[in-house]
Structures are given as C-alpha cells and as structure tokens.
Amino acid sequence: MASDLPPPYTAMTRHPMMPRVNHDEAARFNFLTHFNRYLSGTIGAGNKLAYEKRVLPAFRAEHGRDPEHRYEIRDAMNRDPWHRTWSALKRNSMEMRQHFGRQVVLRQLDELDAMARQYNEHSGQLELDPAIAQPPYQTAVDIHCQPGGYHGEERPGDVTVGANYDVGLFATTGGALGGLNDGGGQAVVAWVKAERPDWSPRRILDIGCTIGHNAVPIAQAFPEAEVIAIDTAAASLRYGAARAAALGVKNIRFVQASGEDLSRWADGTFDWVQTTMFLHELSAKAMPRILAEAHRVLAPGGLILHIEQPQYSDDMPLFEQFMRDWDAFNNNEPFWSAMHGQDLKQVMAEAGFPRECQFVAGVRAVVDPEIFPPSPDKGEEDYGRAAIWNAYGAWKPLAAEAQVAA
C-alpha cells in the first residue's frame, strides 16, 4: 500500500522561522506520523468491532433499547477494555507529539526568539496589545494538550507555543496539510477562486489565526488585499508574524485582538471574514458573540466562511458522533462536543446571516500531490482528524436584499 505512505518529515518546507530538527528529531516525528495513521486506521477499526460485538449488545440487554445519545455510547465504551487501551495509545501519541516538539523548540529557543524579534521589528506586521485578556475558554485547559495552550510563555516575549505548533502539526495530521501546514487555507482559496473567479476582496479578517498558517495562503492568493489576522494569544502571534515575514508575505498583519470585541473596526470594514478550525475552541456564549461581531464588520455582499469538521446531525450515526467526540474528553478540546452538536445554520442565522444566504460546502486540503498524498476519501475513518472539512458560510445580503428579506 505504498500510496498510503505519508511523506517523510523532511518533506516539510524549511522556512526561516521553522525550528531546525536534527536527524533523530525528524525520525521521532516520522514515527508519530505513522503511529497516528496506524491508530486511526489499522487498529482504529477495533472500536467499532468492540461496540457492535459486545458493547451495544450489553447496552441493549441492560436497557432494553439502543443508545439515544453519543454520551450513552461514551459511558459504555469507556468501560470497554479495547477502547480504553486504544484511547491510552492515542493520548500517549498526543503527549509524545507535544514533548518531542517542545524539545526541538526549547533547545533552540534563544535563536528562535532572536529571529522572531528581528523579523517583527523590521516588518511592522505585528501589533500586540497587552490589554487583551486571555478568554476563559483558552485558559480553562491547555487546548490539544499543548502545554501553555496558544498563549503561555516560557519567558517573556518568547515564541515557544507558536513554534511548537508549527513544528509538530505534521505528525498529528499524518502529513496531510502539506509542506507549510497550510492545506486548510489553500482549500479555502481554491473554493473561493472556483466559486467567484473574478472576486477581488480588499480587506480580509481572519479570526483566531494562531500562527497564521491558514491566513497566509489567503494573503498570497489575493496579493492586492489587506489581510488582518487576529488572535488573543501574543505568543502565537509573535511566531506567526515572523513566519509570514520570513515567507515574504507582506500584505498580512497580525493583531492581538479578541473576536468577541471587534469595536476597533467600523461596520462593514471587511469584504471577507474567515475562521479556520476555530469555532470549536470557543464557548457557548463566546461563539454567538464572535459571529455577531463578524456579521457587523462584514460589508454587505461580503463572505463569511468557517472551516470545521462536520456538525453532528441526526443523519450522522451516534457511534460516529461518539468517535468524533474523542478529542473533547481525551485531547483537551472542551467545546468540541457542544459546538458540533449545535445547528450552526441556526447560530449563524441568529448572528444575522439569513438562512437563504447560507451554504455548506465540502473542502479538502490542497497540497502538492507529488509529495503529500491526499487525505483518504473515507473521512469517517479518521473521525475528526482527516484533512477534509465542511465550509459553513454565507454571502451577506446587500442592503436592498436585506430589506426585502426583512
């Protein structure tokens, strides 16, 4: 099955800010890349077998009915010896990815910090605001089990968490995001270019950009546009801004700001507001606030687009919902479960985007197929980590259309 082989870690693009890995550090990431594919593919099938052969029959015998919610399946599966074993393996894989990445970054942090400082001082592409507080949904736990989350510091002004995010994403995603970890952003660009070939947005806002790996390809694809990439986490922004500057992308600025309060931008400032794998890292109260702000700063006729894993609908089998929920309880993604259980169309409608203006499109990572094999077609086998996403979006109606709709 040679076509299923992920590329070696050394296929990653070594942009100037990317932490340098030595031979064995790259080899450890290679191990994790293969190990993750093995866990989700080869032995991941054991979860469904355990469910169908013993967990579900036992549940039926005890309750006289089928499970009615993914949480009932979770409670039952968490008592199953195979699922516990598999979860322990996967949790360890996540922890190893963080540990290995932090060893790479921390041993060369002096150089990385100095380089980031130099890029950021010269480029003028970084704008930090110490008054921005870290929201509770970012500090309750360290998301993805990444020590320090997106915002923590080993020392004032460092880039550890951003650099660690960049250096290890390859291993978690099995190399599916391409040489610059930007397959998600490239997917967004490909969708927009196909949908509106002649569209040339002038101002683009990316909310929750972390290190800008998905915002930079948008800036590259629309060189005439001004891209503002915001996040609350300075530690990620410092790395992201330096990374963009190192890649020579000048039409993007990294601004420390919260999506919940975009008051520094007037109504209708942006032609396009983007979030990529961001909404699931919020909270029940923060998500509608951010969507309402996004609606306010979006110009009539503009595009809002959210890239996420598919929402749980009644059409999605409960077992699949349970498997997709794994990260919520085992990989520190505490809003993942509630967010995917929501009717995102309704949430967007309440934020001001009429249902008739909304759409859902499937997109997949756009990468160099010579080096990076495409994500397997059967997205459900990866249960939440395949580089295949749903784009939940809307074209904001022009004022006249809105009046008619009202």
Binding site: H23, D24, A27, R28, N30, F31, L32, F35, R84, T85, S87, A88, L89, R91, N92, S93, E95, M96, Q98, H99, F100, R102, Q103, L106, R107, L109, D110, T139, A140, V141, D142, H144, C145, Q146, P147, G148, G149, E153, E154, R155, P156, G157, F329, N330, N332
Partner: protein, 122 residues
C-alpha cells in the same frame, strides 16, 4: 517562567504537563505509566533504526560498504561469541523483573516488615 537571561533547562521544561486533568485509562495506574514509557521507547527504537539506515546509505554512497554486504554478513567464531554474549546480557537487562520474580517464588522471603520488626527486637 525563566528570567530572560538564564539559560533554559530545555530537558525539564519540554516535559511540562498540559493543564487539564488527564483521563485514567486503566484501573491500575501503573499501567498508564507503563504505556507512556513503552511507547516513548518504541519511538526511540524507530528513530535509532532510521539513523542506522541513514548511516548505511551514506556509507554505501561513499563506497565504504554495500548494504548487500550487511545483509550477507556472517560473523566468524569469535564475533559470533561476542555477539551472543551481548544478546544474553541484553535479555537479562530487560527481563530482570520477570527473572527476579521467579527467584523470589523459590526463596519465599518473609515480608520486609517482618525483618524490620525482628531486627528491632533482636
């Protein structure tokens, strides 16, 4: 958090825990610990194999040896003895816990507390 001018203890810092309580996957906590060690070792074995593969390929590229020579290598009597001994010693190291449990079954030592109490009296 370190002061800006002190060198970072990167080995210690790299192992920092992520905030958020870790699920317990097994009834026996030692099993959770054992998994973390075993799979870190598995990663290390994989990295070692990759490094050895790199060495072999570089040596072959420079004409020092061919990988076919490695596959066809047959140790002479002395080398075979040395390697056999090294393998025995290795197995003894990794199997110590099992081997000593067998010895202990034969020895039937009393609990250490019995000895502690006895020596405090006698």
């Amino acid at each position: 958090m370190s002061a800006p001018d002190t060198p970072l203890d990167w080995v210690t810092l790299s192992g920092r825990r992520a905030k958020g309580r870790r699920p317990e996957y097994f009834d026996e906590p030692a099993l959770d610990r054992l998994y973390s060690t075993v799979f870190a070792l598995a990663a290390e074995v994989s990295a070692l194999r990759e490094r050895q593969d790199t060495l072999e390929r570089l040596l072959e590229a420079r004409g020092t040896l061919t990988r076919a020579e490695i596959e066809q290598y047959v140790p002479d009597r002395e080398a075979g003895r040395e390697r056999g001994l090294a393998t025995q010693a290795y197995i003894a190291r990794i199997m110590r816990g099992f081997q000593q449990e067998v010895e202990a079954m034969a020895a039937s030592d009393p609990p250490i507390m019995d000895v502690v109490e006895r020596l405090s009296r006698e």
